[in-house]
């Protein structure tokens, strides 16, 4: 039996939070919720996560900016790079590139299906496990 993975949901939309919470708990993952980029940074400084699901458009500090800060925090502390999957509201041309340029690893454009998030989670948590 593999250990439950610890996932951070950075998402300001309450319904999306509920859906993700419901899905992750059904799938046996442990998780924390952050409602904006600032809260996400705070959670990341307190806990280690196996994966971050990051909404790009959040109040206070958006997902792109939060990711840049996380990457520089990781570089300063010389810690492992946590995979970040972007959740974006609209797949505009160039959005994917913006996310990757900000330091995100993968990208999911809305409207997505729960199964697609599951796939991303299994890809990123698995590939992380294989590196060890």
């Amino acid at each position: 039996m593999k250990a439950p993975s610890h996932i951070l949901i950075a998402e300001d939309n309450e319904v999306n939070q509920k859906v993700l919470k419901y899905m992750l708990s059904r799938d046996g993952h442990a998780f924390e919720i952050a409602s904006d980029g600032i809260e996400a940074l705070k959670k990341i400084s307190e806990h280690r996560f196996d994966l971050i699901l990051m909404d790009c458009q959040m109040p206070n500090l958006d997902g792109l900016e939060a990711t840049q800060r996380i990457r520089s925090m990781e570089a300063d502390a010389k810690t492992d790079r946590t995979p970040i999957v972007a959740l974006t509201a609209n797949a505009m041309v160039g959005d994917r590139e913006k996310c990757l340029a900000a330091g995100m690893d993968d990208f999911l454009a809305k409207p997505f299906k729960v199964e697609e998030i599951r796939q991303k989670i299994s890809i990123w948590i698995k590939s992380k496990g294989e590196e060890r």
Binding site: V15, K18, V19, R26, K110, P111, K113, E115
Partner: protein, 129 residues
Amino acid sequence: MKKSKRSFRVLIVDDCPDDISRPYMLTSQLGCEVALALDGRQALSSIITSKFDLVILDWNMPVMSGSDFLLSAREQGVGLNVVVHSGSRLSREELDAASDYGVVDFWPKPMGPVEILKRIKTIRERLGR
């Protein structure tokens, strides 16, 4: 004094967070108690363990589709009031089967908030809730 009523319980079954969002917000705003299921199988276990006044059901879902869910619910002997919330048109046979299985309304996706509110109110009136 007004007699306090049990809240109107709604189960939303859909595998797309964006499609859950609007009915979720609106039914919550109307004071309904709202639960979620992300596929037909989860929905089936929810309706077996608790009672719902209304199920808002997506048709095309992985694991167990909307039509298989209705079939299984009937096999379990669970009576339901169901709204089919679907992005695709249903075939004549599916429509016929659906109305036998407690389907009270069809909502094509995407449906605007005003229309959803109106339809929920109509369904509640019809159900006497």
